[in-house]
Symmetry: C2
Subunit: 334 residues, 2 copies
DNA sequence: TTGTACGCGTTATCAC
DNA sequence: GTGATAACGCGTACAA
């Protein structure tokens, strides 16, 4: 550690320039010298200083992934995918957890202006004014870009996800279907519902309710449903946490999930498969999301023509919460 | 973006050195010039180049956290804690997910020699030979240091965790207690069992079995237990995933967790609270682990006398899987 | 094939 | 109080 190109040059008896060329595999170095340089560098454990190199080449070997909450089971997989892809291109991945605090997002943008990182993968919504300072060095992952901003977006097709659920539920022959969701203003709420509507008969859809993306909210919304005079016999919860809450409410009401009420979630977080009645749900390609987002970003940075905004495909994972039931095993439907 | 100290200097009509001093709050700049420089810098959105600064100061504003699997719910919280602490000291956090591949750990060590990062928080076990190249720039978090290596360690007191469980179970008046665990070679397996033994009557402890740290393994070990002629009426599973598996096995055997069999897990991952019978478990201070590890590392880098190896305290979280049961609410016992 | 010279953007050490 | 000037470690025209 602390070995410089100059020291290598000195002991080998050549100039620093030659060492640089040799180590970077550039032409114009005799095979003999090349060998000696290589072995000397290996012996002393030389490794070029990243910052000196960044300074002269203008290329920074860092990317940052900005997430609202890394403890939310959705994001670690995205992070893993992004890191894999970044590593493939010689970059390391910074993690920025905003905890939904706006000043942390500002901090992430500062990383860009101080050139700590070459680009940002934003998995949190950004405001409009912020988009200006970041042209070409940012890609959105799973969230909308600021309006009129030309920031590339990589996302998962929520409407298709809704359709997958609709098709599955329609085939079950249930009589009344309820939709339980997060905030009405969230686009994913709306798109998942729209997809559902695409695939089911009009008169099948009963109550639609909104709340937060939490277990508690699911429990409350479920309680309200089961308390009504004509409770639904099928429920689509727009994420898994809501679904867990609905399942609790069902259990409270003495109803058996999978028999008395069919239940479908969304996201396929780990707990979905471990619930008392394993949850049929829509799996998002989280790893792929991170991977494609990182790739898109790196391409944009390299000045390659930005590929089209990517829309990845979710898939239905059938478990036992709708009554069909191959034991604890999981059957996947593409 | 791309604004340099020189450009600021030119438009303000001073030298680059003065701008540097002014912006860094160093003495020796007149209040008038200082103002003008500050406002000009703000106007052009100047932000110093991190790499140029690193080059000259020798201080690198990056730390790396190395984890075996970021999708394991234990690590995101550690990451969040480490990032918070790093941010407090002006550092950003790199994430390296090894996926248990040794070459990825090597890669992390390369980050150090190329000075991409100032230090490493290792949450994966490292070999002995590797410790040499990293003296003073590494701290272990939740795993043992390589033998005879003087690398600081921050961990959680597994033996105390075992004791907390033992005390709780002993008070329940059950007749036969089984211990279900991960690999016998893992130190945490052994320490948690040792702690358990500290607190329970000798003849209470029945079968001790080992497997992997997974749901499936828990289900298998549980199945074996319930199939025996004298099944236990209490079980301590050495992590939550195992406990979930045991709960499944109990359910398969027609036994009710919390009534027929008391069950305790370990880790307090999210799913523990969401299980069909919310799980009594031992919560590890994951955030704190990351925080303290990062702090220890930064202190070591700054040459401060390395604080003593830290051993954090776990705490018992009582839910419903042992029969005592304040509804779905969670009661915490310090 | 190899060496010299310069610049990347910043901080630090001198003078003045 | 302020301004040259020299590093920091590396890559790269250009000259030899």
């Amino acid at each position: 550690m602390g070995v410089t190109i100059k020291q290598i040059a000195e002991t080998v008896g050549v100039s620093a320039a030659t060492v640089s060329r040799a180590l970077n595999g550039l032409p114009g170095v005799g095979p003999r010298v090349r060998k000696r340089i290589a072995s000397e560098a290996a012996r002393r454990g030389y490794s070029p200083d990243a910052h000196a190199r960044a300074l002269v080449t203008g290329r920074v070997p860092f990317l940052a992934l900005v997430v609202p909450d890394i403890t939310n089971p959705f994001f670690p997989a995205v992070a893993r995918g992004a890191e894999e892809e970044a590593a493939l291109r010689g970059c390391s991945l910074l993690l920025v957890d905003t905890g939904d605090r706006p000043e942390r997002l500002e901090h992430a943008l500062d990383l860009l202006s101080s050139r700590r990182v070459a680009g940002l993968v934003l998995a949190v919504p950004a405001a409009n004014g912020q988009a200006a300072r970041i042209a070409g060095r940012v890609v959105m992952a799973g969230v909308d870009a600021p309006p009129r901003s030309r920031v590339p977006v990589v996302g998962v097709d929520d409407r298709l996800g809704g359709r997958l659920v609709g098709r599955h539920l329609a085939a079950l022959g249930r009589r009344s279907l309820a939709f339980v969701s997060g905030p009405a203003r969230d686009r994913s709420s709306r798109l998942r519902l729209a997809g559902l509507r695409d695939e089911i008969p009009r008169d099948l859809l009963g109550p639609v309710s909104h709340g937060r993306w939490t277990v508690e909210s699911g429990r409350e919304q479920g309680r309200a449903l089961f308390r009504s005079s004509s409770p639904p016999d099928a429920i689509f919860a727009a994420n898994d946490l809501l679904a867990i809450g609905v399942a609790q409410a069902a259990s409270d009401a003495g109803l058996a999930v999978g028999r008395d009420v069919a239940l479908v979630g969304y996201d396929d977080v780990e707990v979905a498969g471990l619930a008392s009645v394993p949850l049929t749900t829509v799996s998002q390609p989280k790893l792929e999301l991170g991977r494609v987002a990182a790739r898109t970003l790196l391409d944009a940075i390299d000045g390659l023509d930005t590929p089209l905004p990517a829309l990845l495909e979710p898939r239905l994972v059938v478990r036992r919460s709708c009554g069909s039931a191959p034991d604890f095993a999981t059957r996947e439907v593409p």
